[in-house]
């Protein structure tokens, strides 16, 4: 039999056995190709044109290559481990290491080419579906048409050729390193030497949990105003480092440490759940700590990113509503012109015009940052703010000695401390106005464009008149007048928007249309959410697969144990219960740790992205958990089969 026939036969016979590897390959190719097809699709230009979508997609594709490589290298390791006996046998009958390598390479090549063809076909069909989803979330009215992109095809070929070479190298190293004897033993000696818990390990275990908690604590303080400027970056790095190292030590020591305590208390008397879950996980988690750390960190990352982008998407309406109070906000003198044009077209509307008065103010009694002394750039004692009369705010009647603040934002709420009461001191050209602060009104009176996302003061009309006469001329702002136009009938919005553009009012800085702004925001965030969602899903599936493959491997290793246990009189149901327990830990621990990490990550900075944290985050987490548990269930099914075959 020639080497070539041997290769051919091997593939034919092993096909069933290595479906895991083939699945991994096809899946990765499909994933990558569909992503590339989207990237090169001209239809996507509409959606990405507005924002830095192209850059986001580029970053996404690099991340995707990384994930796919890790996944394939892991699958290949499993594949070669299963075949180690065969490789040893080939060498035993006199083949050189070179010939064995040749056999493996050609086999791999055939698998790769086959998987590429199938994967590209699948990926092509998948990308059409993805495109429809993309249009849906960005709100673009377009029909998803697809063309076969040759750029995407070439790109996919190049990437997978590179991964193929990487895997060849790894195989070459593996074959070179191993002696025939060790090859025969790879399959049998899977348990690493078990040792007793040492004091060092216990310390590491406690230290790991400590590091994670410390990271959480830091993250909760990140935006509290404790750290500023350069410190900020250092603290971010510190959080990342302590959480990631903590996670690693957690798997390395803490899990075994905790389980060991539980086990000690049982005093040698273990039931079937303990036998199958406790003792096995204790040792296996330790040896897989690096892999588990990567999986956990990346799931935390993807959950956090998914949550944040969903938070943004979820709060687009609210954000725009906050930033632009009226349908059209005009800060230049074109207000009247626009209203006239609307009247001519017969579009019913109401409008208000507010003169913008910028005033010197001392807010130090009412507003503060928690670490003000560290911040020399900004002081609440000497700043300026916009002042308006209570006449333009219907809901409010302000007394002569009082002042209200409005236009609060979540962003500032998280950075500043607002006192219940105090005095606000305005300083004019001649007079000083000392007014009692009455509270922060949950109102948006002026667009963020005019206020710079800073609160606005509301005073009594008479005080306002005085202040107007007394104003510091040098303090005049970029804008002096604001006209907010509200369209009475919702259906007229689009027409009004067209007029807004036709009159060229939109070319002036500061003039905004709420309708247009919402569209732009939704498109931008939609694309980002789509990319993050795609990557998140890709990562979810790959990490789920890695855990599943690991369990498959473990189940083969532990088959002998099931034989013993069944001989001792445990029934299949007993064992299955124990295995379910084990899966709960195996899939549950990385998931729970990942969810915890992402919760703290989201919590520390969510207000930069939107107005609502809990609902969107919980939705993302629930979906993630649900998809993730599918792999746990698949794994239990696999164990069921192994247990059945064990006796």
């Amino acid at each position: 039999m020639t080497v070539n026939r041997l290769i051919f036969r091997n593939i034919k016979k092993n096909f069933k056995h290595y479906y895991v590897y083939i699945f991994a390959l096809v899946f990765s190719v499909a994933l990558y190709f569909s992503f590339m097809t989207l990237q090169f699709d001209p239809a996507l230009d509409d959606t990405t044109g507005g924002v830095k979508g192209a850059a986001a997609i580029k970053t996404g594709s690099v991340l995707l290559i990384f994930i796919v490589s890790v996944f394939l290298v892991y699958a290949n390791n499993l594949f070669i481990k299963r075949r180690s006996k065969e490789i040893g046998l080939f060498q035993l009958i006199g083949m050189t290491k070179g010939t064995v390598f040749h056999i493996l390479s050609v086999e791999n090549l055939v698998l790769y080419v086959g998987s590429l063809i199938v994967g590209i076909f699948l990926g092509f069909s998948m990308s059409r579906l993805l495109m429809m989803i993309l249009f849906k979330v960005t709100g673009i009215q377009d029909v998803a048409t697809l063309r076969f992109s040759s750029e995407a095809f070439v790109q996919t070929l190049v990437v997978f050729a590179a991964i193929y070479i990487l895997i060849l190298l790894m195989n070459a190293v593996f074959i070179r390193r191993q002696s025939i004897l060790s090859l025969f033993r790879v399959a049998t000696v899977t348990q690493q030497r078990l040792k007793k818990m040492t004091a060092l390990q216990a310390i590491l275990g406690v230290f790991g949990i400590g590091l994670i908690l410390f990271g959480y604590y830091l993250s909760s303080q990140l935006f509290s105003g404790m750290f500023l400027g350069n410190q900020f970056f250092v603290v971010m790095i510190a959080i990342l480092a302590s959480v990631i190292i903590g996670t690693y030590l957690f798997y390395k020591g803490s899990v075994s440490f905790i389980f060991n305590i539980i086990r000690k208390r049982k005093n040698g008397y273990l039931n079937v759940n303990d036998v199958l879950s406790l003792s096995s996980i204790m040792f296996r988690m330790k040896s897989n700590s690096l892999l588990l750390m990567i999986i956990t960190t990346l799931s935390a990352l993807s959950i956090a990113l998914l949550s944040l982008s969903y938070i943004s998407y979820y709060s687009v309406e609210k954000m725009v509503e906050k930033n632009i109070p009226a349908d059209f906000s005009i800060l230049t003198e074109h207000g009247a012109e626009f209203v006239q044009a609307l009247e001519k077209e017969g579009i019913a509307n109401s409008y208000e015009t507010i003169d913008l008065l910028n005033f010197q103010v001392d807010l130090s009694e009412v507003l503060s940052m928690s670490a003000e002394e560290g911040n020399s750039l900004f002081s609440f004692a000497d700043t300026t703010m916009l002042v308006i009369s209570d006449q333009v705010v219907e809901q409010l009647d302000v007394a002569e000695t009082e002042v209200y603040l409005a236009n609060q934002s979540d962003f500032l709420n998280n950075l500043m401390h607002i006192q219940e009461q105090g005095m606000i001191v305005f300083t004019g050209e001649e007079y000083v106005y000392k007014l009692a602060y009455k509270g922060m009104e949950d109102l948006t009176v002026l667009p963020a464009r005019a206020t710079g996302a800073f609160p606005v003061a509301i005073v009594d009309q008479s005080i306002y008149q005085q202040m107007l006469a007394d104003k510091d001329v040098e303090l005049s702002t970029e804008f002096s007048q604001y006209t907010g136009v509200t369209i009475t009938n919702r259906e007229d919005i689009e027409r009004a928007d067209t007029i807004f553009h036709a009159l060229d009012i939109d070319i002036w800085a500061g003039n905004e249309s709420k309708y247009e702004e919402k569209m732009i925001q939704k498109q931008g965030i939609g694309v980002i959410m789509f990319i993050v969602g795609f990557l998140g899903l890709a990562f979810l599936i790959t990490s789920g697969c890695i855990l599943y493959f690991k369990q498959m491997d473990e189940s083969e290793d532990e088959k002998a144990n099931y034989t013993i246990l069944r001989k001792l009189g445990y029934t299949q149901t007993d064992l299955l219960k124990g295995v379910q327990h084990k899966q709960l830990f195996n899939f549950g621990i990385p998931l729970v740790v990942g969810l915890c990490h992402s919760y703290f990550a989201v919590k520390s900075g969510w207000f930069l992205f939107g107005t609502e944290m809990l609902t969107p985050m919980l939705i993302v987490m629930a979906i993630y958990t649900a998809l993730y548990s599918i792999f746990g269930m698949l794994s239990v099914l696999n164990y069921k089969r192994v247990i059945k075959e064990a006796l």
């Binding site: 040698g268 002998a560 009189g569 445990y570 029934t571």
Partner: protein, 253 residues
């Protein structure tokens, strides 16, 4: 009193066209408290016999009853229930769980029967004293010697006082000193606890520790030797002789 009775058991492998008969019309009885060895050449059906006797495998024909219960008629669940109460196992390669300590391994049969923890501890102390493994109770299997492993495995077989213990080549992987040490312990426990032992072996020395040796050839009982009042050495010589006849090359024309 007969504790195990096998009547006319057959075991065949393969399909109709290509059938191999491993056991054919074999009868065997084991009395309460008896120590029986089964010997025979490779491929004579020793291990298959042990497997069907111990309910791990099913016979193709015939009946096997242990303590009056027909194990062929049992369902998988009943069988497991039966195994955990009435049977004990010792294997050539120990079959200890690597992830459990010696004590945890030994206590497994009790935990599956849900024996109270305190009672379990007492039973563990008794059996570990008898087998001399009390001081390695907290070690993992890979930290102890082969002899110690096999004694652990024996302790696991004896701890729940089963009616019958099946041992498959228990000395196969041990050096001669560890082997005779283990066999002494086994026959001690055999008398002390009055548990029947059925041991498969191809080592005449190991067999000489038992009270009766059953020789198997081509799936049938070839002959049986009883120790009776003989010394162990005399019995050993008898076994050697019979083995020579059994395994010797036959010069038929």
């Amino acid at each position: 009193m007969v504790i195990l009775q096998a009547t006319k058991i057959y075991k065949t492998y393969g399909n109709k066209l290509n059938k191999t008969e491993v056991l054919s019309a074999l009868d065997l009885e084991v009395n309460k408290g008896e120590f029986v060895s089964i010997m025979g050449a490779s491929g004579s059906g020793k291990t298959t016999l042990l497997n069907v006797l111990s309910s791990i495998d099913r016979v193709s024909q015939g009946t096997i009853s242990i303590e009056g219960q027909n194990i062929n008629a049992m369902k998988e669940k009943q069988m497991a229930e039966f195994r955990k109460r009435h049977l004990g196992f010792i294997f050539q390669d120990y079959n200890l769980l690597d992830t459990l300590t010696v004590k945890e391994n030994i206590l497994l049969p009790l935990s599956v029967q849900k024996v109270a923890k305190k009672r379990a501890n007492e039973m563990f102390h008794a059996v570990s004293e008898d087998l001399g493994i009390a001081d390695i109770a907290d070690k993992y299997p890979n930290e102890i010697s082969g002899g110690q492993k096999q004694r652990t495995s024996a302790a696991r077989a004896f701890i729940h006082d089963p009616s019958i213990i099946f041992a498959d080549e228990p000395t196969g992987a041990l050096d001669s000193k560890a082997a005779s040490d283990l066999l002494n312990k086994l026959s001690d426990l055999n008398t002390k606890r009055n548990a029947s032992i059925v041991m498969v072996t191809h080592d005449p020395l190991a067999a000489s520790f038992s009270e009766r040796v059953v020789f198997i050839k081509d799936g049938q009982i070839y002959t049986q030797l009883y120790k009776g009042e003989q010394t162990r050495t005399e019995f050993f010589n008898d076994i050697i002789k019979t083995q020579g006849v059994l395994g010797g090359v036959q010069h038929d024309s």
